[in-house]
């Protein structure tokens, strides 16, 4: 069973700033989880604990029941994949192919296994025709997909994405949706930080709202987005369709056009 658990997790930066103030969170299963909140709420600080990039100042982080402190970050890489916000920090080899193969080679996997994964994953991230290109020559979004591919190649049970939607266009967003769905289907736990509420409400059932180093709300997406004052307090604006539905007097919280249409019909029927 995949799980990430934090117990009274506190983190203090060298400057003395208390970025996390006792976070208790338990993430399990294969339902993708979104972490949202204001800039500086502690989202990145929190997820950097999931593979030990940061170590708790106090409290514990348990990955599949094992204390994160028991291994180095590099040792966690096969269990927890982490995609950084800036792909330039993560890419360093001469070709996309080498980037993708790097992780599994480090893990000492069999050549055939690697070739098989390469075929599947390069297709998933849309780089199958760019395998021999230097990552430096990729566009910013392609670089992002290259780092995602490099992490997925290790087939970690838990995958963390930090702001994958940043700068993505329609095609990029659709590809990300595809990747998140695939991960769920393969029984992996995907944890994503995002500012894009359209993207969050479309792809995630569970949403964690952070505010000033604490978890403000943690629950089902409908439940979270039906609390306007909580959202306001955490500086999160609901997505456009949700806003329209609420402003028009719709009682249900809706995220899609179809959802809105159905809710309108239901509400009319119930009023008759």
């Amino acid at each position: 069973m995949l799980s990430v658990e934090t117990r009274n997790l506190e983190y203090r930066y060298g400057s003395g700033h208390r970025a996390l103030k006792g976070v208790n969170l338990s993430l399990q299963g294969n339902d993708p989880v979104a972490i949202i909140g204001q800039n500086g709420a502690g989202k990145t600080t929190l997820v950097k604990h999931f593979n030990g990039i940061l170590r708790p100042t106090s409290g514990n982080v348990l990955i599949n029941g094992v204390d994160v402190n028991e291994r180095s970050t590099a040792r966690w890489a096969g269990t927890v994949g982490y995609v950084f916000q800036n792909p330039d920090d993560q890419l360093f080899l001469e070709t996309v192919r080498k980037e993708l193969e790097f992780g599994p080679l480090q893990m000492g996997l069999d050549e055939r296994v690697i070739a098989d994964r390469l075929e599947r994953i390069s297709g998933l991230v849309g780089l199958d025709d760019k395998l021999d290109v230097h990552p430096f020559d990729l566009t910013a979004t392609e670089k992002k997909f290259c780092t995602i591919g490099a992490v997925l190649m290790m087939e970690p049970g838990i995958v963390v994405f930090d702001e994958p939607t940043c700068g993505q266009d329609m095609a990029g967003n659709r590809r990300l949706e595809q990747i998140i769905k695939t991960l769920a289907r393969q029984n992996r736990l995907c944890i994503t930080i995002s500012h894009d509420m359209k993207f969050v409400t479309r792809n995630f059932r569970r949403v964690v709202v952070m505010n000033q180093g604490n978890v403000l709300v943690d629950g089902d997406v409908d439940e979270v987005f039906s609390q306007p004052d909580v959202l306001r307090r955490s500086f999160v604006a609901p997505p456009p369709i949700t806003k329209v539905g609420r402003a028009a007097g719709l009682k249900e919280t809706v995220f899609t056009v179809e959802g809105l249409m159905d809710a309108v019909k239901r509400q009319k029927e119930s009023e008759v």
Binding site: Y13, G14, S15, K48, N51, I53, S72, T73, A74, R75, A77, G78, G81, Y82, F84, N86, D88, D89, Q90, L91, F92, L93, F102, G103, Q106, M107, F136, A150, V151, M154
Partner: protein, 273 residues
């Protein structure tokens, strides 16, 4: 978190308020005085003065560490080399068999060490008490090109910038399964993949920095630049600066006169004409 610009931290001392140009004058005047003076006595006296100034500027502890940490080993080394092997040696004061110490060499070494310490100590105090932005603003005020000012600030910034990048890139590589812990060889090997992104990102940074500066008007010609950092010369700065220059001139004149044999200075120890 790495510090940007230099290692300046405000402590609110008088030396911090002193005009940066006055401080540059001080470094040059004190250092040159120690160099020109026939023997090491003036240098030694100036080092003592600097120690007092350092303590008054709340920098006594690190200053002593620098003076002792650098001064003692260099002094021992120079005393040994110059004292034992200098060609000036005439008066032998000790004979250890394999090496014979001459008074002239030792005096020469003492002068070298004290002069070095005056330069180093005064420069250290200037650096520690001057905010780089203020230094550059002052230099631009007296007519130094803004391009040179930029070079000073940018080069001061390169190291902390690189350190920050290196830390993030190291995290990113650890997350990809690259161990940067362990033995020396393992760590060196692990640094190779990290260097790639650091160098590449520094190169793109440099290009983008150039673009940014242009869009922010760096290349505008025919305009007298102004600065947000205001440096006003106070009377005290002027007086201290003039005093230091006068001091230097006096030392120079006396030294020249002594060299020419016009006056016999009450030189305490040796002094090589």
């Amino acid at each position: 978190m790495a510090h940007a610009l230099n290692s300046f931290h405000s402590l609110g001392t008088p030396l911090e308020r002193m005009h940066p140009i006055t401080k540059i004058v001080a470094v040059l005047a004190l250092g040159l005085s120690a160099l020109l003076w026939p023997d090491f006595t003036l240098g030694a006296a100036l080092v003592l003065v600097l120690v007092v100034v350092a303590f008054l500027s709340k920098l006594g502890h690190p200053f002593m560490k620098l003076i002792l940490g650098f001064g003692v080993p260099v002094a021992v080394m120079l005393l040994f080399i110059q004292g034992g092997y200098s060609s000036r040696n005439v008066t032998i004061i000790a004979d250890w068999g394999f090496v014979r110490f001459g008074l002239e060499g030792i005096e020469h070494a003492a002068k070298l060490v004290t002069t070095l310490l005056v330069f180093l100590g005064s420069f250290y105090l200037m650096n520690k008490t001057t905010y780089a932005g203020r230094l550059v603003a002052a230099l631009t005020q007296v007519g130094v090109s803004s391009k040179i000012g930029y070079l000073i600030l940018a080069s001061l910034n390169v190291v902390p910038q690189m350190q920050l990048r290196l830390a993030v890139i190291q995290q990113a590589q650890n997350a990809r399964g690259l161990d940067t812990q362990g033995g020396l060889v393992a760590r060196l090997k692990a640094y190779i993949p990290i260097l790639g992104p650091v160098v590449l990102s520094s190169l793109t940074d440099a290009q983008e920095r150039g673009m940014t500066l242009e869009t922010r008007g760096f290349g505008i010609d025919g305009v007298r630049r102004t600065s947000y950092v205001q440096v006003h010369a106070r009377r005290a700065d002027f007086v201290v600066g003039c005093g230091l220059l006068l001091f230097l001139i006096m030392v120079a004149v006396l030294s020249v006169m002594w060299h020419c044999g016009i006056i016999p200075l009450p030189v305490l120890i040796g002094g090589s004409r």
